[in-house]
């Protein structure tokens, strides 16, 4: 189980085994980076969050007591760093750009046409995500894109389960409307 593996790697890393810490990073970095990139829509900021998250883990290795799963802890750090960046960007008047199509999204589609269509669709989906309010985006990314259980999402974001559900509902509904507006413009109110 990955959790057991995390436990062993954490113990080794705490005793100073740097390679174990690097293995932990390798095991979790894609999830952290995906969350940050989808929250921020900007690769440079997502890279900052990736670094801040793992440096925070490194500095708190002794304090992290594994009462929650490591992935929950990392998601919480990454979500908080991302929200902080969004607040700073808003205060500074910066515009958040939608995730670019060049992002290295895992794809195993067989034909070039299907690949191109899928890339267009992904671009559209990522753009719509960036159209959500940050609080709703965080919930939708964690729950629907990353596939985390609802209770876990509430724990990651430090909100109640009803609040999580309410944000999820609003986010999904907004995305549904955006998808409809794009695929069927004459049907929009």
């Amino acid at each position: 189980m990955p959790g057991d593996n995390d436990h062993m790697l954490l113990a080794a890393a705490r005793s100073g085994d740097h390679r174990s810490f690097e293995r932990l990073v390798r095991n979790h970095q894609a999830r952290v980076f995906s969350l940050a990139l989808r929250m921020l829509g900007n690769r440079a900021d997502a890279e900052d969050v990736l670094q801040e998250t793992f440096i925070a883990l490194y500095k708190n290795l002794d304090r992290f007591q594994e009462r929650s799963k490591l992935s929950t802890y990392l998601y919480r750090l990454a979500a908080n760093f991302s929200l902080m960046k969004l607040r700073q960007a808003k205060a500074g008047g910066a515009r958040i750009e939608p995730l670019d199509a060049g992002a290295e999204i895992a794809s195993t589609l067989p034909t070039p046409l299907e690949r191109a269509e899928a890339a267009d669709l992904r671009k559209q989906l990522e753009r719509s995500l960036m159209g959500l309010a940050a609080a709703e985006r965080a919930v939708v990314v964690l729950r629907d894109v990353q596939g985390i259980d609802g209770r876990e999402v509430a724990r990651v974001l430090g909100i109640s389960l009803p609040a999580m559900k309410s944000r999820l509902h609003r986010g999904r509904e907004a995305l549904r409307r955006m998808m409809l507006d794009r695929t069927d413009p004459e049907d929009s109110p």
Binding site: E22, F33, L50, E104, E126, L175
Partner: protein, 95 residues
């Protein structure tokens, strides 16, 4: 994906729509779930609405992960090594 539910839905439909997200997540009490099922049987607008909501969620579930580019990973490991060195020096200094 097309639905006119947003404009024509009754108050009852809107109340139902408020729990569709939980309905799709199978996170509703059985009694409420039965009410939703009954309503869906009679309401084509809500069926269509639920279908578009479900398709949207499915699309997002299929988005997939994003690989960390090699250069980003290299910079991450370099930053961690720096932090580790700093930590070692700090420990040595406090001995």
């Amino acid at each position: 994906m097309s639905t006119k539910h947003d404009r024509t839905g009754s108050h009852h439909c809107r109340r139902m729509a408020a729990v569709f997200s939980d309905y799709l997540d199978r996170d509703l009490r059985e009694a409420i779930c039965r009410k939703v099922d009954e309503h869906l049987k009679q309401c084509p607008d809500c069926r269509l609405y639920l279908d578009t909501l479900s398709r949207t969620i499915t699309l997002y579930r299929g988005l997939g992960g994003i690989r960390v580019p090699k250069n980003v990973e290299s910079r991450l490991f370099a930053t961690i090594r720096l932090a580790a060195e700093k930590n070692k020096r700090k420990k040595r200094a406090t001995r």
